[in-house]
């Protein structure tokens, strides 16, 4: 006859196991950050940040890759932010829930799930080849903007929805038009939330590799215009590590990558908290 285990004892056992697994998981994640930074931090000097890579990345710093990354972020945001906010305004202020909004939302969600390699493939076939833009910051930025669009639409939508309806009613009662209400009242109030989405997008731009490799190329020179090829930090790290060019420089680049992304995501998190706090008061 099977003995019945006291539920309170089995509860004890399982709870200990759950805590153990959680501790283990969090330990792995922390270990990753610590391992990279211990190896990488000694590499990082002012020189490392401000000199161009030399000898394929064996010597020198990562200045040109930082600049390429920044240019790429600029292009991607210039395209994705207006599109994304416009779409969010339309979805929240100009329509009711209907078949059309359902289709738009579904399309946006699907786009969010498309893997970066497919985006890279498309960017290569469309921007690089069909539009004859070549491997360039412009091709890379445009492909990247496709990747960011869903995030920006979703976060903007959420933050516009969080703006209390009473604010709009006041505007309408004063005879203000819809567009004026949106630009003067709704958007300024929702701004911190929207900025959160944009900041998160910057983080994704910094870490992305597959898209950039296929569309912006991997030239190590400092890009002189948006039509030049450029190598971002993530691609630089990938090439250094995969081809075993220089391990110290690879660790240094990885550390900069991880910390810039963690810092940016932390900013986004802080902004979101502030935004939510504000609306706790509105009720």
């Amino acid at each position: 006859m099977a003995t019945r285990i006291n539920p309170l004892i089995s509860q004890r056992v399982v709870k200990v196991q759950l805590w153990g697994l959680t501790g283990f998981t969090i330990a792995i994640l922390f270990f990753i950050v610590c391992f990279v930074s211990i190896k990488g931090l000694p590499q990082i000097t002012l020189d490392f940040l401000t000199t161009n890579p030399g000898d394929m990345g064996r010597s020198g710093g990562i200045f040109s890759t930082i600049m390429s990354t920044l240019y790429l972020i600029f292009i991607a945001l210039m395209i994705a932010v207006p599109l994304g906010i416009g779409a969010a305004i339309y979805l929240t202020e100009y329509t009711r829930e209907s078949r059309i909004t359902y289709i738009i939302r579904f399309g946006t969600e699907c786009l969010a799930g498309i893997p970066s390699i497919i985006l890279g493939l498309f960017g290569f076939a469309f921007f690089v080849m069909a539009l004859h833009l070549g491997w360039s910051i412009l091709s890379g930025g445009m492909t990247m903007s496709i990747m960011l669009l869903p995030t920006i639409i979703r976060t903007s939508e959420e933050s516009i929805k969080a703006v209390p309806y009473a604010l709009r009613e006041v505007c309408f009662s004063l005879g203000v038009t819809k567009w004026q209400t949106v630009t003067r009242v709704v958007l300024p109030t929702a701004l911190p939330g929207i900025v959160t989405g944009v900041v998160l997008s910057i983080g994704r731009c910094i870490g992305e590799t597959a898209v950039v490799l296929f569309t912006a190329g991997s030239s190590l020179r400092l890009p002189q215009s948006f039509f030049d090829s450029g190598r971002t930090m993530a691609v630089h790290f990938y090439i250094l590590a995969r081809e075993g060019i220089s391990m110290p420089n690879a660790y240094g680049t990885a550390t900069i990558l991880i910390f810039s992304i963690l810092f940016i995501n932390l900013c986004a998190y802080y902004l979101m908290r502030q935004f939510l706090k504000k609306y706790a008061i509105f009720g």
Binding site: P7, I114, I117, T209
Partner: protein, 281 residues
């Protein structure tokens, strides 16, 4: 007049995402479909002979590798992620959860190349020394992917568990169930759809991941015979050969992309259906 115009413009912007999605599908299908018909759908999907420069375009071993790697990642990752989610949502004091949940989400931002690199530096030698084989393997890829999808699955599962009405828990506890019984029989059941959505999203991320996998999977063109054999999933195939492919070879890579695209769309539709059911509940 101006208002109407603005509305029209905004509507156009709203369709941008779905427009891009369609454009992308059209472009990839246009580039890839001809070669699938040329090689024959059966040959393309179910042959393991991939020698694109000689006219053999069979991607069966890559499809199998992709599925194995993804399933492996889920087998390792899901129990860990669920344990984290249950602990943080139910067992841990609120103050700890408030700190740890954002921390886990922050770690989702670490770039995939970094995970792949750590896989090569730390995990691959361990597997080679203690389990045998070349180290670069199905197992290594699955483990790295498991760590990568952990934050996503954990964070969405925590939301799903916390969304379960408190009265369910009170009812169960009042009937004399222990906390663990309540979690297992009431809370996890009620949060089921949300957790499944989280797992499907993780699955989509795992099957689509490229840079980490390319570094640790070994990229051999064979049907994997054990978890220790090196494999080449669909994504790696595209990324590895895109640099120098031309003509039919490049078309075949786009065709590989089509297969991947179809997988992802199926996952998305599944996740969408389940999320909808979740919201109805």
């Amino acid at each position: 007049m101006k208002e109407k115009l603005i509305e029209k413009i905004l509507m156009l912007l709203a369709f941008s995402a779905i427009g891009v999605l369609l454009l992308m599908a059209i472009f990839i299908f246009k580039e890839g479909m001809p070669i699938i018909f040329k090689a024959g759908i059966n040959n393309f999907l179910f042959s393991t002979h991939w020698a694109p420069t000689k006219g053999y375009f069979g991607i069966f071993s890559m499809i199998v590798s992709s599925l194995y790697v993804t399933i492996g990642a889920l087998i390792i990752g899901v129990p860990l992620a669920l344990a984290c989610a249950i602990t943080l949502a139910e067992l841990a004091p609120l103050r700890l959860t408030v700190i740890l949940k954002p921390t886990i989400e922050l770690l989702a931002g670490i770039p995939s190349v970094v995970y792949g690199f750590l896989g090569v530096v730390l995990l691959v030698p361990l597997i080679r020394d203690y389990l045998g084989g070349p180290g670069l393997s199905l197992l290594a890829a699955s483990m790295i992917l498991a760590i990568m999808i952990l934050p996503t699955i954990t964070s969405i599962s925590i939301d799903a568990i916390q969304a379960v009405p408190y009265s369910y828990k009170e009812g169960s506890l009042a009937l004399g169930a222990t906390h663990l019984q309540t979690i297992r029989m009431v809370i996890l059941k009620a949060a089921r759809s949300g957790i499944i959505t989280a797992i499907i999203l993780g699955m989509g991320r795992a099957i689509g991941e490229t840079m980490a996998v390319i570094m640790v999977a070994g990229n051999a063109l064979k049907l994997p015979s054990s978890p220790l054999s090196p494999v080449r999933p669909l994504t790696s195939n595209i990324a590895l050969e895109m640099g120098y492919a031309a003509g039919d070879h490049r078309a075949a890579l786009f065709a590989t992309g089509i297969v991947l695209f179809v997988f992802i769309m199926v996952f998305n539709v599944l996740a969408n259906i389940i999320t909808k059911r979740w919201q109805q509940e």
